[in-house]
């Protein structure tokens, strides 16, 4: 087991820069998830760590050693692929032991390692089957087993769950987390699914256009996003962005959404945003759970307003509501008993203690 360090790592394909200078420190035992839309360079970064892609510039270190020129097999890593890449002509046990057999481990050692991994993943009764006879979830386990028996310094996962159906994905997500808790191997995990990233990671690395947008724990990313990209990428339904500007009204700082609607800012927020020029074009960022039905005695910082709903989506434990403010579609979450109906008026409350203010041009969270 080891830490992994990336220093100014760049990947160029001819003229295109797929990865534009990544700095990342992954501690020993840490579970780090690289997340971002397709084409953001997350898979390329992972493949560079694996050694499947040459790096164009920068350094990659595993366990303190620069591995830029080290071939994949000598990096002591294991990788789980999106399509599992199980050897179709080998049984499960042979698949899992292939790497060890190539390294000429003693037979007894191989067997005990395969048995242990099979037990850990609950695939003991499958070890003599061929991949073709396995379900998607079982193949996924075997692919993980193949990584585990190697007992490598680093696990690399490349979108391992995206070929599974939604239900199985949740189950395997938990499985992966359990395995990591047991083996504690440093893990780098690539996904485009922010839910996977949030649920699995110790730290999440959000990537976009070949750069890191933000690194942080799932909670940090959720509550303190650094950019509009992160704010909109993390969380589902996504954060609402409503065009707005700041305004002094009766000596208090307000955020004005429309001609009709302007909310006074809570004192803490007002102090923070005091120095922003009043005519800057801004975006008010509000997560759907901070837009709810109005209650009789609102807490400090909670402001109410009236609107007409466009569409409602009853989800059972809550109802998602959609309405339009200044041309922006806004989503809120209300109690199923709040009486929200398509096309009906409703009095809503926004929790400004959890608001974000973004610069509309730069996308930076202020």
């Amino acid at each position: 087991m080891a830490d992994v360090t990336l220093r100014k790592v760049v990947k160029r394909y001819d003229e295109v820069e797929a990865v534009r200078g990544i700095d990342l420190d992954i501690a020993d035992h840490e579970f780090v998830v690289l997340v971002g839309p397709s084409g953001c360079g997350k898979s390329t970064t992972l493949r560079m760590i694996a050694g499947l892609e040459d790096i164009s510039d920068g350094d990659i270190m595993i366990g303190g050693d620069v591995v830029n020129d080290v071939p994949p097999k000598d990096r002591d890593i294991a990788m789980v692929f999106q399509n599992y890449a199980l050897y179709p002509h080998m049984t499960v046990a042979e698949n899992m032991s292939f790497g060890l057999r190539l390294k000429r481990y003693p037979k007894a050692e191989i067997k005990s390692r395969v048995d242990e991994a099979a037990r850990m993943l609950d695939i003991v009764e499958l070890v003599d089957r061929k991949p073709k006879q396995l379900s998607g979830g079982q193949r996924q386990r075997v692919a993980m087993g193949r990584a585990i028996v190697r007992n490598p310094k680093v696990f690399l996962f490349d979108e391992p769950l995206s070929n599974l159906d939604a239900k199985l994905r949740v189950q395997m997500r938990i499985e992966i987390k359990k395995v990591h808790q047991k083996v504690r191997t440093t893990t780098v995990y690539v996904t485009h699914d922010q839910v996977e990233a949030m649920t699995l990671a110790d730290r999440v690395v959000v990537m976009n256009h070949g750069r890191i947008e933000q690194i942080g724990t799932p909670n940090e990313l959720y509550h303190k996003p650094a950019t509009k990209f992160v704010a909109s990428f993390i969380g589902s339904p996504a954060m609402n962005f409503i065009p707005c500007r700041l305004e002094e009204l009766a000596g208090k700082l307000h955020v004005r959404l429309t001609d009709r609607i302007a909310f006074p800012l809570p004192p803490a927020r007002a102090a923070r945003y005091q120095r922003i020029p009043r005519d800057d074009k801004l975006l008010l960022g509000l997560r759907p759970e901070h837009i709810a039905e109005a209650r009789p005695h609102p807490a400090p910082g909670v402001e109410t307003f009236d609107t007409v709903l466009d569409v409602t989506e009853p989800m059972g434990m809550e109802t998602l509501i959609y309405f339009t403010l200044e041309g922006a579609q806004v989503c809120g979450r209300v109690n199923p008993n709040a009486g929200a109906q398509d096309g009906a008026p409703l009095r809503l409350a926004v929790d400004l203690n959890n608001m974000h203010l973004l610069n509309e041009v730069t996308g930076v969270v202020l």
Partner: protein
């Protein structure tokens, strides 16, 4: 309105359905009729080989019903299978075919692996070039090849003309390009992640080839092997040109040059020889039909 459409659609659909199934039944009857016709057309020559091979010379020259054997005898088979000359042809053919298959696979599998997986300068051009050489027929090359072999003999004193093993050099020109081509197709269809997984597992390029690619592409290798074997076994022009002594001949040429003596055709023996010559490919085909067909269609549908 919906009830109206149902009322209208109900009966018409029923009639339509009935007419369709009746059409199908007729189409099927016609299909079988013509298939039987074509099957007869296809199978008459080999069946006639069999019929004639069971007749004695006397029965053949008596010109009785040619489609029927009145006094079946195995004498033609016994005579040929105890004739040293015929066994020599068979042996030569078998040696040539087996060694050529081995050479072909040793050349084309590694080459296909390199062309499918290691992108290097000119690899795409080479792959297309290989396919194009497959299109150059034997009948364009036999004269220059003959002259080349004569010249090698003149210059080095190594006699290649009229030696059965010269075919070991020549036949691969017929088998290697196509086998390489279909193996490129099979290798290219193996997901890239599979060799990446092997590399991470610590396999060298050679181990990736022998332990992953060859086992996974085994159906393709079998198809290519069958192709190489049948081509080597059936080749007629090259041995006709390059070999003349009876102890150097392969089966097809041997049968035609030795069993046809001037105007005297011993048809019983010729047909027996032809049937025995056709037997190895037919037996392979009977047992490995799916691979045989896969190899046949691979050239056009893959790549």
């Amino acid at each position: 309105m919906s009830t109206l459409t149902v009322d209208k659609a109900g009966p018409t659909r029923k009639v339509k359905y009935g007419s369709m199934s009746r059409d199908r039944a007729w189409a099927l009857r016609w299909s079988y009729f013509f298939l039987i016709l074509f099957a007869i057309f296809s199978l008459v020559p080999p069946l006639y080989m069999l019929i004639t091979s069971l007749k004695s010379s006397a029965e053949i020259s008596a010109a009785t019903n040619p489609w029927w054997v009145f006094h079946p005898t195995l004498s033609n088979y016994i005579e040929l299978l105890t004739s040293n000359q015929f066994l020599r042809f068979f042996w030569n053919s078998a040696m040539v075919a087996i060694i050529v298959v081995t050479i072909t696979m040793l050349i084309s599998v590694p080459a296909a692996f390199a062309l499918a997986r290691m992108k290097f300068w000119g690899s795409a051009t080479l792959a297309t070039g290989v396919f194009l050489t497959y299109l150059i027929p034997d009948s364009l090359l036999f004269i220059p090849l003959f002259k080349m072999l004569v010249m090698v003999g003149d210059w080095t004193g190594i006699q290649l003309i009229n030696r059965w093993y010269v075919l070991l050099f020549i036949y691969p020109t017929l088998t290697v390009p196509f086998c390489t081509w279909i193996m490129i197709g099979y290798f290219a269809s193996i997901p890239k992640e599979l060799d990446e997984a092997a590399i991470i597992d610590g396999a060298s390029w050679f181990q990736t080839l022998t332990r992953i690619f060859i086992p996974v592409a085994l159906p393709g290798i079998i198809a290519a092997t069958i192709f190489a074997f049948t081509v080597s076994w059936a080749q007629f022009l090259y041995p006709l040109v390059f070999t003349t002594s009876t102890d150097q001949l392969v089966l097809p040429v041997g049968i035609i040059t030795t069993l046809i003596k001037g105007d005297v055709f011993n048809w019983g023996q010729i047909m027996t020889g032809a049937l025995l010559g056709a037997a190895p490919p037919l037996i392979i085909y009977a047992f490995l039909m799916d691979y045989y067909i896969a190899g046949l269609t691979a050239g056009a549908t893959k790549g």
